[in-house]
């Protein structure tokens, strides 16, 4: 029933228009802004010393990679759920093998300390303070 999806599109259009109207209303009745100091980034009242574009810890990247792996796994499970009754034991065990394979990777990340952010952040801090 593709036409049952139409209201979702309508809701999206509605939400975007609503957002636009709220922003426009504020733009019309809100006061303007100005001033060089006011428009500088917040740095607890200190003058800006260096640019905000810093190098970002690799840990965030690793978390994102872990996420992609597991979320794809979760996405594969959803269709499995719907046909499990008809598929019976063969389908159940074949997907469990798939989950087990991912789990091997999970245990590997865990054993390697990929989930111990404290340890990893601390080594970085120590490197930073000694270096």
């Amino acid at each position: 029933m593709p036409e049952t999806y139409l209201p979702v599109l309508l809701a999206l259009a509605f939400a975007l228009i609503l957002g636009g109207v709220i922003l426009a209303a504020s733009g019309l009745i809100g006061r303007g802004s100005g001033g060089r100091v006011k428009l500088s980034p917040y740095e607890s009242g200190e003058p800006l010393l260096d640019p905000s574009r810093k190098r970002i810890s690799i840990l965030f990247f690793l978390i994102a990679i872990d996420f992609v792996i597991f979320d794809v796994e979760a996405a594969f499970l959803y269709p499995w759920v719907l046909v499990l009754r008809e598929g019976g034991w063969p389908l159940f065990w074949s997907v469990m093998v798939f989950v087990a394979l991912i789990l091997v990777g999970f245990v590997y990340i865990w054993r390697k300390g990929g989930l111990d952010l404290k340890k990893r952040f601390r080594t970085r801090w120590q490197e930073a303070s000694h270096g």
């Binding site: 029933m1 209201p7 509605f14 939400a15 957002g19 009745i29 994102a64 597991f70 759920v81 469990m96």
Partner: protein, 360 residues
């Protein structure tokens, strides 16, 4: 009213009427009569409840018991100065808050607030019932991450950048256990339509929280973390990061982030009520002796809407209760909780539920 609708049906033809006009009216009602007022008064309720939990009064100056406070807040935020920092990346700065709010509002178009129409031409208490509703909810619930990281990066401020990164890491980490936890009720229901899931709970004769309490627990924790609320409100940990990703936001753009946070709270609560607490069903839906709880004296299935709202309010109260009770987690504790406890727990639950499902 029904005469007017009949005239519109006559003028537009059934397809346009059933799939465009009626949904448009329903969306408008859900947003303007349901969600937006609920958000406004949820903020007030939060301040009041927190006030009483901390042995003070809370807002009580604007109107009786502070009941006009939300309106005053909205007016204030509308007329406030709208600052875009000089070094900000303008498109990202503007797009960020919109990306947080819009998906939450779209999700409400598939949430069943009450039962479907009992008779031909009756009122069904949802905008639309699509067969992959749950998948769509999950997909849309991911989008606010983009809004937050765009806003945090686009602000070009150190606090915003760190807050945005933390928030993104937290939200994607808890999305995994949330996704796994939702598989449990799906297994029991055998459909992804949210209306279908509630009807499966009626046919089973109990809410899915009974056989799926582990999944419910994981979903609850993940849901609180997803909506960046205490005790997982690290993205805006004011003692470390000023205000996290919305440090540089003022006026109405800040209000949009705020609106998004509360809308997401309501979304998470609605999904939890639908999947685990029987949606519009009364407690113990299989016990005949309690059928007076159906509130069937109310017209057109309104009793179901009453039950849905009651459960929703309980959930929202629990959110506020958490905020009044728990101290904030440290960032590494938060990530460890998600990866080391919630994911294994959800996987074990998934395995056992699948086993039972195939066995029986």
């Amino acid at each position: 009213m029904s005469g007017l609708l009949a005239a519109m049906l006559e003028a537009t033809g059934p397809t346009l009427f059933h799939y465009v006009l009626v949904p448009l009216i329903k969306i408008a009602i859900v947003l303007f009569a349901g969600v937006l007022p609920l958000i406004m008064y949820l903020v007030l309720a939060e301040r009041k409840v927190l006030g009483f939990m901390q042995a003070r009064v809370g807002p009580n100056r604007v109107g009786l018991w502070g009941l006009l406070q939300p309106i005053a807040d909205v007016m204030k935020l509308l007329v406030k100065e709208d600052v875009v920092p000089r070094r900000a990346v303008r498109w990202a700065f503007v797009l960020g808050p919109c990306l947080v709010v819009a998906p939450a509002f779209v999700i409400f178009s598939v949430i069943p607030f009450g039962p479907p129409a009992a008779t031909e031409g009756g009122i069904s208490w949802f905008v639309t019932d699509i067969n992959v509703a749950l998948l769509m909810v999950l997909a849309l619930a991911t989008l606010p991450v983009y809004g937050i990281i765009l806003g945090g990066w686009g602000s070009n401020s150190k606090f915003s950048l760190l807050g945005g990164l933390r928030s993104a890491a937290q939200m994607i980490s808890y999305e995994v256990p949330q996704g796994f936890a939702l598989v449990g009720p799906l297994l029991l229901a055998g459909t992804m339509s949210l209306v279908g899931i509630v009807e499966a709970q009626r046919d089973l004769g109990m809410w899915f929280i009974v056989p799926q309490f582990v999944a419910f627990f994981v979903f609850l924790v993940a849901g609180v973390a997803e909506s960046n609320r205490n005790p997982f409100d690290l993205p805006e940990a004011e003692s470390e990061l000023v205000a996290g990703f919305h440090t540089e936001y003022t006026g109405i753009r800040f209000a949009l982030f705020f609106l998004g946070e509360y809308a997401n709270m309501i979304v998470v609560s609605s999904v939890a009520v639908t999947l685990f607490l029987g949606g519009w069903l009364r407690p113990f839906p299989s016990v005949e002796a309690l059928s007076f709880l159906d509130l069937s004296f109310l017209p057109a299935g309104l009793g179901g809407v009453v039950w849905f709202s009651l459960k929703l309010f309980v959930f929202l109260f629990v959110y506020i209760w958490f905020r009044g009770t728990f101290p904030r987690y440290r960032f590494d504790q938060l990530m460890a909780l998600g990866w080391k406890w919630m994911i294994p727990l959800a996987l074990v639950n998934l395995f056992l539920t699948g086993l039972v499902k195939v066995w029986v």
